[in-house]
């Protein structure tokens, strides 16, 4: 929000997005802004419309009404792959590995995209860059293993590596800690923090239920309930917010 005051446009601006599936309103008039280098968490109970919002931002669903601006450009009607090449990468809640391909080839698919292959040709080879990415997420020992042989936690990390390969300005993680054990969660948290230290201008948007892990990473939290935004603020404030507690516990305490 500081940047808008200085006249610079927000990195991502979601303006009054509404999405209806028949009579069901999944996302109702949501607006949010993300600035460069900001780490934002998106939380809310099941069915709050977080994943739908994700799909709309990444172009897999088209909104009923509203607009999405990225770096001052309208990207509402662009197809998903063009949005990725503009600089928004995402991971999926249900992992979608390319299971016939070895792990390193999974990452190379991202590197074959226009945005992913921008710099590699004169800096390093594609294999080298894929290996570096795998090392960042700790999968380099498994690089020749077919993705179908990987465990749950490894697949989550593979998704992150694949998203990072396109060098996004905004990375959107859909429940990255879902189903991970504490060690894996700690490792992924550390990976994300290091990732942010390496590239401070990269913004992160995370949907997560594991609030303890989430709060370590993010600067700002947005709470959704039944398709609407009910609260926004710093993690410490959100934890104390009455409305949020009410929504999460299903009534007054």
């Amino acid at each position: 929000m500081n940047s808008s005051e200085s006249g610079k446009p927000h990195l991502l601006e979601v303006i009054n997005i509404t999405k209806k599936f028949g009579g069901l309103v999944a996302v109702n008039n949501i607006s949010l802004q993300i600035d460069e280098g900001e780490r934002v968490g998106l939380i809310g109970p099941n069915g709050a419309g977080k994943t739908t919002l994700f799909n709309i931002i990444s172009g897999f669903l088209k909104p009923t009404s509203g607009k999405i601006m990225f770096k001052g450009e309208d990207i509402t009607k662009l197809p998903p792959h063009k949005i990725v090449n503009k600089g928004i990468a995402r991971t999926f809640q249900i992992m979608r590995p390319f299971r016939h391909l070895p792990v390193i080839a999974n990452v190379m698919v991202s590197l074959k995209s226009p945005r992913g292959s921008r710099k590699i040709e004169w800096v390093k080879t594609m294999e080298r860059k894929a290996l570096d990415l795998l090392e960042d997420v700790g999968l380099s020992e498994l690089m020749l293993e077919p993705a179908e042989n990987l465990g749950y936690g490894d697949l989550k990390r593979l998704e992150v590596a694949r998203a990072l390969a396109t060098e996004p300005d905004l990375i959107m993680l859909d429940e990255p800690f879902g189903g991970l054990n504490p060690v894996e969660t700690e490792f992924l948290t550390r990976t994300l923090i290091t990732m942010h230290q390496d590239e401070p201008s990269r913004a992160i948007l995370i949907v997560e239920h594991k609030l303890y892990a989430l709060m370590k990473i993010v600067d700002r939290v947005i709470v959704m309930h039944q398709g609407e935004k009910i609260a926004e603020g710093k993690p410490e404030e959100i934890v104390k917010n009455k409305k949020v507690i009410e929504v999460y516990t299903g009534g007054t305490l």
Partner: protein, 471 residues
């Protein structure tokens, strides 16, 4: 002076020697020590020796066409496998590519050249200009990189200048008509494949199969349509130009052997080309579309472009197979070439051998053709006749073949060749990745030894180990 020449000669001899030693050792390491590859190599040697085996023994040249047909089917199967086994775009209409090449070539032969065997360069000029236009359209459609487009343009311009020069120099240089008509047929077939690929961007799965199934049938009915009789001669078919023109009086054995080696060479070339595409980075993207289209989109891949590319490459090799069939195997093309049989043959062949492999369609094609054209009619049916079962030839052959295919599919659902290769891999000692793995793996291992690993993973591991030591 002589001394210098001698020393240079010795040097070159030494380099040749070292090259041959290196080639020999790499052959031992990459082919001889790897059982599946050794088997493939032996099979290839056997294929090379087939015409020699049949020279004096049973049947003479009678059985060579069977093997020619097998090679052609193998190319068709491999092209189908690239599209379906590796990109996941279901096509039940490869007969279109199989038939269209012969038709294009035959119509050009009859209408433009009036059945002349040879072509003068002045006609060639016109043809090359058409090819240039098609090439430019293709390069724009496929969306090549700028460097590739420039390269293509340079090559095309060079060809045009060469042709103009040769026309200026004189028109005594003559080439067989087929050498021009077949490349045109290949180009048109590739364009058609792109056109068919366009609806595939909207239609998916079984519906795409249904769509592609209908296309060759439409073309087939166009070909047999009475108002077009002057062009296509309906059921009588069109005579196609010969690719190889023999001197008068060449014996049948020589002719058939030359045809056999010609198709085998083209099978080898196209198999290597398709394999190279499949293991390239583009091939990786193809497999990613097969595995998960949504995720491929989320990786920033323009799925449309890669699907079209896959259609175009598959169509190109499909048309190549069709051209070989209608120029080398038969000198004619019939409407039945566009029929359902040729749509389903590549599927049967690929599933017999193994889907998603390069050796699958080839092995499948040879098994299918040998069973269907050689073993069943020559060995099984006589046995049945001897047992007193007097059966019609064609139906019984098909019945036995169908039963064999069903049994194979139940017993080895992954395909014959794939099952054998998997078993051989199990038999062999576990392959040492450190020695024969990809270059990047070796580099990684080396860095690991030297302790130069990049970032957090190693740090994190160390911390974990420290924790374990403490507890």
């Amino acid at each position: 002076m002589t001394l210098l020449i001698k020393s240079k000669l010795a040097d070159s001899l030494r380099t040749v020697k070292s090259y041959s030693v290196r080639a020999y050792s790499s052959f031992i390491a990459n082919v001889f020590d790897v059982p599946p590859r050794l088997l493939a190599f032996l099979c290839f040697l056997t294929l090379l020796a087939i015409p020699i085996c049949w020279f004096n023994s049973f049947g003479g040249t009678r059985y060579l066409p069977i093997f020619i047909h097998a090679s052609i089917l193998a190319i068709l199967g491999a092209s189908w496998d690239l599209l379906v086994g590796r990109t996941g775009q279901v096509s039940l209409g490869h007969a279109l590519f199989f038939g269209i090449g012969g038709y294009v070539s035959g119509i050009l032969y009859e209408q433009l050249y009036g059945f002349s065997y040879y072509l003068t360069t002045s006609v060639l000029l016109m043809v090359v200009l058409v090819a240039v236009v098609i090439g430019v359209i293709l390069s724009v459609l496929v969306g090549l990189r700028r460097s590739m487009r420039i390269l293509l343009m340079v090559v095309l311009v060079a060809v045009v200048i060469g042709v103009i020069l040769s026309v200026l120099v004189g028109s005594w240089i003559t080439i067989p008509v087929a050498w021009v008509t077949v490349p045109i047929a290949l180009a048109i077939g590739t364009l058609l494949a792109l056109l068919i690929g366009l609806p595939a961007l909207r239609v998916k799965g079984p519906y795409l199969g249904l769509f592609t199934l209908c296309i060759p049938l439409i073309v087939q009915s166009l070909v047999t349509w009475p108002p077009l009789y002057w062009l296509t001669h309906a059921d009588f078919g069109i005579v196609t130009p010969q690719i190889i023109i023999y001197p008068l009086g060449t014996s049948l054995i020589i002719r058939k052997s030359v045809e056999y080696y010609f198709t085998l060479t083209l099978l080898f070339i196209s198999a290597v080309a398709i394999y190279k595409v499949a293991i390239s980075k583009t091939g990786i993207v193809f497999v990613s579309i097969l595995d998960n289209e949504l995720a491929a989109k989320a990786c920033g891949i323009n799925v449309t472009k890669y699907k079209l590319l896959s259609f175009a490459i598959s169509g190109l090799f499909g048309v190549l197979a069709g051209c070989l069939y209608s120029h080398v195997y038969l000198p004619k093309v019939y409407p039945t070439d566009l029929g359902l049989t040729n749509s389903f043959l590549p599927i049967i062949v690929t599933y017999l051998g193994g889907l998603g492999t390069i050796y699958g369609p080839i092995v499948g094609a040879y098994i299918y053709t040998i069973l269907d054209d050689y073993a069943l009619p020559n060995h099984f049916l006589p046995i049945l006749r001897m047992m007193g079962v007097n059966t019609p030839y064609y139906e019984t052959k098909n019945l036995i073949f169908a039963v064999i295919v069903i049994l194979l599919v139940i017993k080895w659902p992954r395909g014959i060749a794939r099952t054998i290769v998997d078993k051989l891999d199990d038999l062999a000692k576990p392959r040492d990745i450190e020695e024969r793995g990809p270059r990047i793996w070796k580099k990684y291992k080396k860095e690991q030894k030297e302790g130069r690993l990049r970032k957090i993973f190693s740090r994190f591991k160390k911390k974990q180990e420290e924790k374990e030591v403490k507890t």
